[in-house]
Symmetry: none
């Protein structure tokens, strides 16, 4: 699906930005780059900044007009920091990415969508924006909204990757290991209480309250079985040393 998303750059002034954008696209799995009248391309700076995304640059198509770049697309999103008088639907990056991916999923025949970015620093002019059906607006600090062109493309490519893989369905918090079984935890915790007792830790504390607090801390640690063995080894060492102390 990501292969059917075109990044269209209008009259880009700095070859460095084209290189950074190729890299940004490739990190997120996009590959279709369309350059409308770039000031200078190919260019060594673009290759330098691509840092290995050379294939994206090699396959980039250079054309003379925006209509050529968006030909046969089913949706065209124009990125702009400014609000426009011309009323058109505005989408933030996440909504834009979800919209584009839903369209690509539902399209009866294989089709492309395009995201269009204007030149630095002017952005999209009104003529270009008239070719777009949607305004793509990246949220930014109103006092300093000047996103670098490649940074803007990076954000939208990131959202496109998430949308394409429907990342919203995957768990937000993924534990990377399996905690020990409760029985193993209980045996460890009993040993912890035994050591606490032997060390007169509870003293004039409320025993049940203090042990409940200890329990919560160690439960939260979600130790796996190897870690439980380690903690038990640590406690055993204390028991051993204190017993054998002269």
């Amino acid at each position: 699906m990501l292969r059917r998303i075109r990044i269209v750059l209008l009259e880009t002034q700095q070859p460095r930005n084209i290189g950074s954008i190729a890299r940004a696209m490739k990190t997120m799995g996009l590959s279709q780059l369309m350059l409308v009248k770039p000031r200078s391309f190919p260019h060594k700076d673009a290759l330098d900044l691509a840092s290995g995304a050379d294939d994206v640059l090699q396959q980039a198509r250079v054309v003379n007009t925006l209509p050529e770049a968006i030909s046969s697309c089913v949706a065209v999103y124009g990125a702009s920091a400014r609000r426009r008088h011309n009323p058109m639907p505005e989408l933030k990056p996440r909504a834009c990415a979800e919209h584009a991916c839903a369209l690509l999923m539902q399209a009866a025949e294989p089709a492309d969508v395009a995201l269009v970015f204007g030149s630095e620093p002017a952005g999209l002019d009104n003529d270009a924006l008239l070719q777009c059906q949607y305004l793509l607006q990246i949220p930014a600090n109103p006092a300093f909204a000047s996103l670098n062109l490649a940074a803007a493309v990076q954000i939208i490519c990131y959202e496109l990757r998430l949308a394409a893989f429907q990342a919203s369905d995957t768990p937000l918090y993924q534990p990377v290991h399996v905690p020990a079984q409760v029985d193993a935890f209980e045996s460890f915790f009993q040993q912890l209480l035994d050591v606490s007792e032997a060390m007169h830790y509870f003293g004039n504390k409320s025993r049940s309250q203090a042990s409940a607090q200890l329990r919560r801390i160690f439960q939260r640690a979600q130790a796996d079985s190897q870690e439980i063995r380690m903690l038990r080894g640590w406690l055993s060492q204390i028991q051993f040393v204190c017993k054998n102390k002269p």
Copy 2:
């Protein structure tokens, strides 16, 4: 809230990247930049690339060690492209941003959180990662995951801005309590190592490996400041009893 989020850059090699990061931060409303042993700072290239985010560079703090940079933080997220053997919770940018903003909302006293980025191109080493409680992983094309450093920071700052403005709604991931500041944790952990040493726990184990494992278990427990005091009391009791044993 965004003012309480630190971007920590470890041994950044290219001043250009520091400038691009200042710009990326400011576009999203962040302002706290911490530089741990940058190769060259201040630098003309940084200023050039900041494109007007000069104030972020001027206020940037240069320090010698990671612990200084994350001092008094309640959560530390380490960005890494690689999976690690040492198990720690992994968060994608969206979940990480929501987690950080929820923590900042709930903290009883004003506190900071830190996002830590390693040097180009090596990334975070294991020692640095041990100081972090969470692994921040940006989704990327497995065949080409080499995000530019500033691009990675741009993505997370974008998610932080979205999360900060949504934080009044129900966060998707609700931390149950606010962990102790890292400094308090470090003092506790040092005491744990002291006791381990006194008890000859390390014996013929690999000291660094065993202490890294212990560290990971207790970091995962996310003990709050009262619980840290409790654990320290427990350790002190062992020290007291073993010292006074006849």
